[in-house]
């Protein structure tokens, strides 16, 4: 019982690491550009498939990760520039438009990769299990994912809080017009942040595809988890995405373990309650 509880905790944290990769991009692009991009789930799935293809061809997991991320960064750029740009700040239009983009991408992926569950091959040295103190045995890959998620979180946090670019982005989140008025090219900043967000989504697809597998419909399942993460954390907040990912990851792991039939309730019930008291999430601000 005790060991299972600990294993579930690690499961939850490794899911949290994956969700953070996806949710951080979503939340930053909302914070800065006020864009709700529902195609993020499709970015994840498509990135995973592209990573899978590259991984099978080259045998390198690192290349797969980079290719998945880079391909989606490019696709995301075009979607942003030629479609989302036209919606202004109308969230309703953005949601409809990006859901449409996600439908198109999902269907194209279905035609190319078919309807089976596909798994991105994991590198040799991550295939076994690690032994933790106390005799616990846990798959190495998911353990590595936790470290990787923590690493990305740290890099993003440093970038956001300690660098010049981060300071400008934070200023942009607070007051875009002011930043523009000081002579900073906000447009270029948007391209940068949106590329980063798409890159992370594609990367997450490859990382997630190695243990959750890739299949039609996965784009919506993962997107809803990411949405809950940003609802809990508060839109536009990086810290919120970290805490939110941990809460959602752990609730999901324990929910699946203790009440498999009602796991969605375990996950969404507390969140509905939270919403009653803090409608803008833990770290959310007025927008």
């Amino acid at each position: 019982m005790m060991t299972s509880a600990i294993l579930q905790a690690i499961n939850g944290v490794s899911l949290a690491a994956l969700l953070f990769l996806l949710a951080s991009g979503f939340t930053l692009s909302f914070g800065l550009m006020r864009v709700v991009n529902m195609a993020h789930g499709a970015y994840y799935l498509l990135g995973g498939y592209i990573g899978l293809a590259v991984g099978l061809k080259t045998g390198s997991f690192t290349l797969a990760l980079l290719a998945g991320g880079a391909a989606i960064a490019v696709i995301g750029f075009f979607v942003d520039r030629f479609l989302i740009r036209h919606t202004g700040e109308n969230h309703l239009a953005q949601v409809l438009l990006t859901v449409g983009v996600a439908f198109v991408m999902g269907d194209v992926a279905l035609q190319v990769w078919g309807g089976d569950n596909l798994k991105v091959p994991v590198p040799m040295f991550l295939r076994g299990a690690v032994e933790l103190p106390g005799g616990l045995v846990y798959p190495s890959y998911r353990f590595a994912l936790i470290l990787f998620g923590a690493f990305v979180a740290l890099v993003l946090w440093l970038l956001y809080k300690k660098t010049q670019i981060g300071a400008v982005v934070r200023a942009g989140v607070d007051d875009r017009e002011q930043v523009n008025a000081t002579g900073i090219n906000v447009d270029r900043l948007f391209v940068l942040v949106s590329a980063l967000a798409s890159f992370l989504a594609g990367l997450a697809g490859v990382a997630g595809g190695a243990f959750l597998t890739l299949y039609p419909g996965a784009e919506w399942e993962i997107l809803v988890y990411a949405l809950v993460v940003v609802i809990v954390g508060g839109l536009g907040s990086l810290e919120g995405a970290m805490i939110g990912a941990l809460i959602v990851g752990l609730l999901d792991a324990y929910g699946r373990w203790l009440l498999p039939e009602f796991s969605y309730f375990v996950l969404f019930g507390p969140i509905a309650l939270l919403m009653l008291f803090r409608p803008r999430g833990l770290f959310g601000r007025e927008h």
């Binding site: 309703l92 839109l235 039939e261 009653l276």
Partner: protein, 314 residues
């Protein structure tokens, strides 16, 4: 000269009544679906077009009501007289809970309703001992009240038509009432309505619950038409498509959602006869609507009429 709108309405009614005679089974079936999904789209539009709230959870009320009817009729042999109202009641009760989402606005409201929708979908799929899992509940009979029973899809079409017409008249009364006016006031400017002394939160909550009740009526009509229900009915694409139907047809109108439902269902039927990718086609319609016809077809018709009128006077 008689009122042209009345003439148009009577002509449409006559065409609808005569449809099974000249349309055959295919067209009767398609129009039945159009009426049912048009009703669902109308329920979404009560929030979207009048109150300015974009809900993406309406498949939940639709499906909960459909499941309630199916489970009661098939598993417990409950007659239609009780099962159908129970379905509407169940969907409306869920609306009372999900209505808490009106504490939020704008993008938060959209995201939270999506999350709510997935709770219902998750239950439909995973709580398989009760919902039947992926297979759902099958063998739902046609509705029967006392000795009167529906025995064919043509008869059922007339029933759906009667219900839809009745609901549309009540809907018209509702949106023209002071309550409907207040909703549009909130859509225009919530702070102004608040300073006028309106309890805007309460108004939106009431609109949400009414809208859920309406979606539940559509759910009841759906399950008796389809004769089975599975988790697809509760899934996110249904919620999005319902909203899209309202937008394609034109929000804030009564006929719009039905036109939108007709266009979308017709398009899907036609397209799926030669390609498999109907989701991609739907996606393309989403994109095209946002970019080129944000006011929908009714709005487009209005713009054209305005231009013609200007020419005539110009």
């Amino acid at each position: 000269m008689p009122n042209p709108r009345l003439v148009l309405a009577l002509a449409a009614l006559a065409a609808a009544l005569a449809l099974p005679q000249f349309g055959g089974q295919f067209w009767t079936g398609l129009v039945t679906q159009m009426l049912i999904f048009g009703l669902l789209a109308l329920s979404v539009d009560l929030l979207l077009g009048h109150a300015g709230l974009f809900s993406l959870t309406h498949a939940s009320f639709f499906a909960v009501s459909a499941y309630t009817v199916a489970i009661l009729q098939v598993r417990y042999g409950v007659p239609t007289v009780l099962a159908a109202p129970a379905g509407i009641l169940a969907g409306t009760l869920l609306g009372l809970v999900f209505g808490l989402a009106v504490r939020t606005r704008g993008v938060y409201f959209i995201l939270i309703t999506i999350a709510f929708g997935y709770v219902v979908w998750g239950l439909a799929q995973r709580w398989s001992s009760f919902t039947g899992g992926d297979n759902g509940v099958t063998n739902v009979p046609f509705p029967a009240v006392g000795g009167l029973a529906i025995t064919s899809h043509t008869q059922y079409y007339y029933l759906v038509l009667a219900v839809v017409i009745g609901v549309c008249f009540s809907y018209r009364v509702l949106v023209r009432s002071p309550f409907g006016l207040a909703l549009r006031g909130i859509k225009g400017s919530e702070t102004r309505m608040q300073s006028l002394g309106y309890r805007t939160g309460l108004h939106l909550y009431a609109a949400f619950v009414l809208s859920a009740a309406l979606a539940s009526v559509a759910g009841v009509l759906y399950v008796y038409y389809n004769r089975f229900v599975n988790p697809v009915a509760s899934a996110f694409p249904i919620s999005v498509e319902a909203a899209l139907m309202a937008i394609v047809g034109g929000t804030g109108t009564i006929i719009g959602p039905f036109i939108g439902a007709g266009v979308l269902l017709g398009l899907r039927n036609w397209v799926s006869s030669f390609v498999e990718m109907h989701h991609a086609i739907m996606g393309a319609v989403f994109i095209a609507t946002v970019l080129w016809a944000p006011d929908g077809l009714v709005g487009l018709a209005g713009r054209i009429r305005a231009r013609l009128a200007r020419k005539k006077h110009g």
